[in-house]
């Protein structure tokens, strides 16, 4: 038999596996925007509050976007079949995760840009560094979620740990987050630069994506 080549799962398939989670994210964004723009009134800080909320939903929402695509490799009723197929860490894992991340990030960056534009002068900065910082935060959290999810083989833990991380980063203003102050854009640590956090998030995110792709290849571990 000829050697076949690993191909990417069609994007349309991935979009379907996101399922209701995808609608949930859209609903959360819509509710936030409606609340801030229509119900919150003319407060000067409402656009900052809107940016803050959209950012939090974006960072947490990426988990709902990416993790369901891999739930079949840990679910007892499906993992045996999926792992017996000639899947590889690169196309089934890394590239697929990057594709989902990229699609999602383009959407949230556009949304944040629209919020920035309509915010007149009452808004947080949104330049190149901020784009790098925000997308880095989303990248890091998605990588953390994937890694924790695959190691624990538990979707709840896969959601829980990154959400806990975002909460600590937000409430302690990076105090206990070392190089990974994920919420630096909306609640900055005044003694550190945005670029430093952005770079650390991107590098760590990349490492976590590679680790996730590696775990996907560890069939015996996932079967256990």
């Amino acid at each position: 038999m000829d050697k076949r080549i690993n191909k990417m799962i069609p994007l349309s398939f991935d979009l379907k596996t996101v399922g209701y989670g995808g609608y949930f994210i859209l609903l959360a964004f819509a509710a936030t925007i409606i609340f801030h723009l229509m119900l919150m009134g003319g407060s000067a800080t409402k656009y900052i509050s809107l940016q803050t909320t959209v950012f939090i939903i974006s960072v947490v929402g990426v988990l709902v976007w990416i993790l369901p695509a891999y739930v079949e490799v840990v679910k007892p009723e499906s993992k045996e079949l999926i792992l017996s197929l000639p899947i590889d860490g690169l196309t089934f894992g890394f590239l697929r995760m990057v594709r989902l991340f990229a699609l999602y990030t383009v959407f949230v960056l556009t949304l944040l840009f629209v919020v920035y534009v309509i915010g007149n002068e009452n808004r947080l900065e949104y330049g190149i560094v901020e784009v790098f910082l925000i997308s880095g935060a989303v990248f890091f959290i998605s990588g953390l979620g994937m890694t924790v999810f695959l190691i624990s083989k538990n979707l709840v833990i896969g959601y829980g740990i990154p959400i806990l991380w975002v909460s600590i980063s937000f409430f302690y203003r990076g105090g206990a987050s070392w190089l990974w102050h994920t919420c630096h854009w909306i609640n900055p640590n005044p003694f550190e630069s945005s670029l430093k956090y952005a770079v650390s998030h991107w590098i760590t995110g990349m490492v976590l994506y590679i680790i996730s792709a590696f775990i996907i290849k560890q069939r015996e571990y996932l079967m256990g």
Binding site: M1, F13, T17, E77, L81, L85, P86, E220
Partner: protein
Amino acid sequence: MRLEIEGLSKSYKDKKALDSVNLFVSNGIYGLLGPNGAGKTTLMRILAGLITPDEGRVVFDGEDVLKNIDNFRYKIGYLPQEFGCYRSISVKECLDTIGVLKGIDASERKKQIEKILCEVNLSDEYKKKVGALSGGMRRRLGIAQAMLGNPSFIMVDEPTAGLDPEERIRFRGFIRKFATNRAILLSTHIIEDIKNNCDGLALINNGKIKQFNNFEELENMAKGKVWKMVVDSDDFHKIDGKYKILSTNTNANGLEIRIYSEVKPSEDAVAVEPTVEEGYLTWINA
């Protein structure tokens, strides 16, 4: 196609799941029969590249597959005991996705999916969500996905467990249809699945395996150890517990029973030709 398994062993902590297993499989249907926990699924999982054996070799058409398991995955089809993946998408999308993961070209995939759906009588259900299929339909979808890519070796783990008798017979028919020019290893604890369908068989128990050339060989294991006699209900209660009663059948003279015993259990007992089930019980209890 030739698959040779040589000295395969696998242990989990103190329990030996497979103990120096040797097995030879070529084209046709091979039954792997054994009680629950005998080691069937462990063997299947090793062959599917899901777990690594402690020792032993698996040779497929002259190639040591454990040394290049990624390449071997393209050559096999596997239907595990649990098949419940991608429940939120349609039957056709499910097969298409698995086809992509098997590395099959788009045009070839389309052709194969249409053909296989027709063969497993799921053509009318192709739009249905996988989660909405009945147990029997899901099993048929399972065998359909195993067939994708035209593998020369297919493994099916407990394929008829939980199916009603009609669906079980239908499923056996599919297996028979797909066995042309390829080998199918069918693991089960249901003797009927093997008796009505297989060209060869192997018994497995406590991680040890014995391959039989034909069913007569298995039946002969119980030769001279199966007895038939007619008893009334009082005698039945006396015999029950003293001997292993294999089957009972009420007729006009009383209760006709078949007994497993190394020695003649009674003056009235007559030695009879053993069945496959009785051969199986003899080997399992040996």
